[in-house]
């Protein structure tokens, strides 16, 4: 077991390194000059030259990468070109906000998705199954930025029940688990949860429907085991797959919340990324990209390691 965990860890290291290279290089694909984000449109040449030197933009690319990596490893992601604030600080608070949103959305989606999928799979072919299947197709097909817009119009503007934007009355810096803050979370989380909801209910439905056909279930039933006990068996068999899919979904939501965050002005990584792209703020863009991807790699690692806990057969594979 320990060996298995170590092997997975070792495997994750080169991937993480690859991620740093890609994150670093990606932003240099771009045309256009990052200096424009720091200087106003009519800044004189000498000011621009000074800024160039102070941001290290005059060094060759590999040197810049190594310097960047060295500092990144120490948690220093440089300073945002547009604001001058340390990128790590900006990313930290944004990642916290996105994690909150994506976590709640994923939890909601996974929970409801599993339940709906299980019910549908258990009654495979019945009307409930059809309903869940139809809803799950809707879930994976709906453009969620559009859904978010429609939900805002209905619930915050027409009905006035929920806030339309932001992470709370005092901003994200003083997040509390109280009613007023949770109200801000409802619409974005609902909008974002339709994706994992759709995917999870499809996955679980397929798994459960399949397992219910398996010989061991038939054997258990023949032995006179109650339905509850059978469901427990089915659940245990489905758990590793559900875990893997759910983990992946949380990762996707972390990276994929950009559209929803833009619609709801949620101060997370997506919002930050959007700003960074349009301001051509290279250090910020790199920082956000890197941190999100490393979280994704870490999540995958966690799932890999947790799966055998649920299903020891996997270690031997």
């Amino acid at each position: 077991m320990l060996m298995f965990v170590l092997r997975r860890l070792l495997y994750a290291v080169p991937i993480a390194l690859g991620v740093t290279v890609v994150s670093f290089l990606l932003v240099y694909l771009a045309p256009g000059d990052p200096l424009n984000a720091i200087a106003p449109a009519d800044a004189p040449a000498e000011v621009i030259e000074a800024l160039k030197v102070s941001y290290g933009l005059d060094r060759p690319l590999p040197v810049r990468y190594l310097l960047w990596l060295q500092r990144a490893v120490q948690g220093d992601l440089g300073a945002s070109i547009a604001t001058g604030r340390p990128v790590s600080g900006e990313v930290r608070s944004a990642v916290g906000n996105t994690l909150l949103l994506a976590g709640v959305a994923a939890a909601l989606g996974v929970l409801v998705g599993c339940l709906a999928g299980a019910v549908a799979g258990y009654h495979a072919g019945g009307p409930l199954d059809r309903l869940v299947t139809a809803l799950s197709v809707v879930g994976v097909s709906v453009p969620h930025y559009w859904l978010g817009l429609v939900l805002t119009i209905v619930f915050s503007v027409r009905l006035g029940w929920l806030p339309a934007m932001g992470a709370g009355p005092g901003g994200s810096a003083d997040w509390l688990w109280d009613g007023d803050h949770l109200r801000h979370l409802v619409l974005p989380a609902l909008t974002l949860c339709v994706i994992p909801l759709g995917i999870l209910s499809r996955t679980v439905r397929a798994l459960v429907a399949d397992l219910m056909q398996r010989e061991f279930v038939l054997a258990l039933r023949a032995r006179g085991l109650g339905e509850a006990a059978i469901l427990r068996h089915v659940a245990r068999n489905a758990a590793p797959t559900v875990l893997a899919v759910a983990g992946l979904q949380l990762g996707y939501l972390m990276g994929g919340s950009i559209l929803v965050e833009t619609v709801f002005a949620w101060p997370g990584t997506g919002f930050l990324l959007n700003t960074a792209i349009f301001q051509r703020d290279i250090p910020l863009l790199q920082g956000v990209l890197l941190v999100l991807c490393l979280i994704f790699v870490g999540l995958n690692l966690l799932v890999d390691v947790l799966q055998p806990v649920l299903d020891p057969r996997m270690v031997r594979q």
């Binding site: 991937i15 991620v19 771009a30 453009p143 893997a244 990324l273």
Partner: protein
């Protein structure tokens, strides 16, 4: 996991030397009302897009401030007009061109490139396989929306760049499916038999392996089109996709957003079309998958 299970089912279902399975597949597909309905809807949308110059009732670029944001059902403008008075119906029909192009092209490109890489990696095995798959793992480590946004953001907005970005997002996924299918087929007896009988690698790949790999990859790719449509219009929505005045559903959704108070129905139309098309592709992929499974 389910994806791999499907691949296994697909490969086992179709793994036989040369069987004309396609015919019966289409028959099975059409037997399901959901798939048949999706096919019909897609035919309409694709047909409309292809025949846009002849089908569209008006010039999609002809603006007039005097008739902006007319509601659905206005005389002469069955689906109303947009924020600068252009005919919505015509723009939606024309918009299908770019939206479908942006949705389908990356998947088609990824399908071609990914299958080729997967075939080679899966068939060669060994270090080449390891190398290819590990490099792709790096790209796999980027959540897809993030990668698409980052690449388009870096390259700059535009149709070509967003197609390129989405292709890059889908290639690793297709390679995984193709590689896993190839690896399984490679171990089957008749492939061994062909190899022993002295067939060249290319011939084996072409005649025996490809046919069995294409099925599952195709099913998977059909499912990807829906994701691609949503992502592509999402890029346009963020301002990273096509440029104005082009008609494209994501961009139209973006520019019509603020009309949602004045004329909610018109503002909701582009989003609804993205939704319907994406759903049709999803249902079709489901139908294909189950038709493939039942065939075995």
């Amino acid at each position: 996991m389910t994806v791999l299970a499907t691949v296994q089912a697909g490969v086992l279902a179709t793994a036989r030397p040369a069987v004309h399975w396609r015919h019966s597949l289409i028959a099975r597909l059409l037997a399901s009302p959901a798939s048949a309905g999706s096919l019909l809807l897609l035919t309409l949308i694709v047909g409309g897009a292809l025949l846009a110059p002849w089908v569209a009732p008006a010039d999609p670029y002809q603006a007039s401030m005097l008739r902006r944001l007319l509601p659905v059902g206005s005389p002469g403008f069955p689906l109303g007009t947009d924020e600068i008075g252009r005919d919505m119906l015509s723009r939606l029909i024309w918009g299908g061109r770019l939206s479908l192009l942006m949705g389908v092209t990356p998947v088609a490109l990824a399908f071609g490139i990914g299958t080729a890489i997967g075939l080679v990696a899966g068939y060669a095995g060994g270090w080449l396989n390891t190398l290819v798959m590990r490099v792709l793992d790096v790209f796999y480590a980027f959540p897809s929306v993030l990668l698409a946004v980052a690449v388009t953001g870096a390259l700059g907005p535009g149709l070509n760049n967003s197609i390129l970005a989405l292709t890059l997002v889908f290639i690793p996924q297709v390679v995984r499916i193709a590689e896993s299918a190839t690896t399984q087929v490679r171990r089957l007896e008749y492939v061994d038999a062909a190899r022993i009988s002295g067939a060249s690698t290319i011939a084996i790949l072409w005649q025996h392996v490809l046919g069995n790999v294409l099925g599952p990859v195709f099913v998977y790719a059909t499912g990807l089109v829906s994701v691609s449509m949503i992502l592509a219009s999402g890029l346009s929505f963020l301002g990273l996709g096509v440029r104005p005045p082009e008609a494209e559903w994501g961009l139209m959704l973006n520019t019509l957003r603020s009309a949602i108070y004045l004329n909610p129905a018109v503002a909701a139309l582009p989003g609804a079309l993205i939704f319907l098309t994406s759903m049709a592709f999803n249902l079709l992929a489901d139908g294909l998958r189950s038709a493939l499974e039942r065939q075995g």
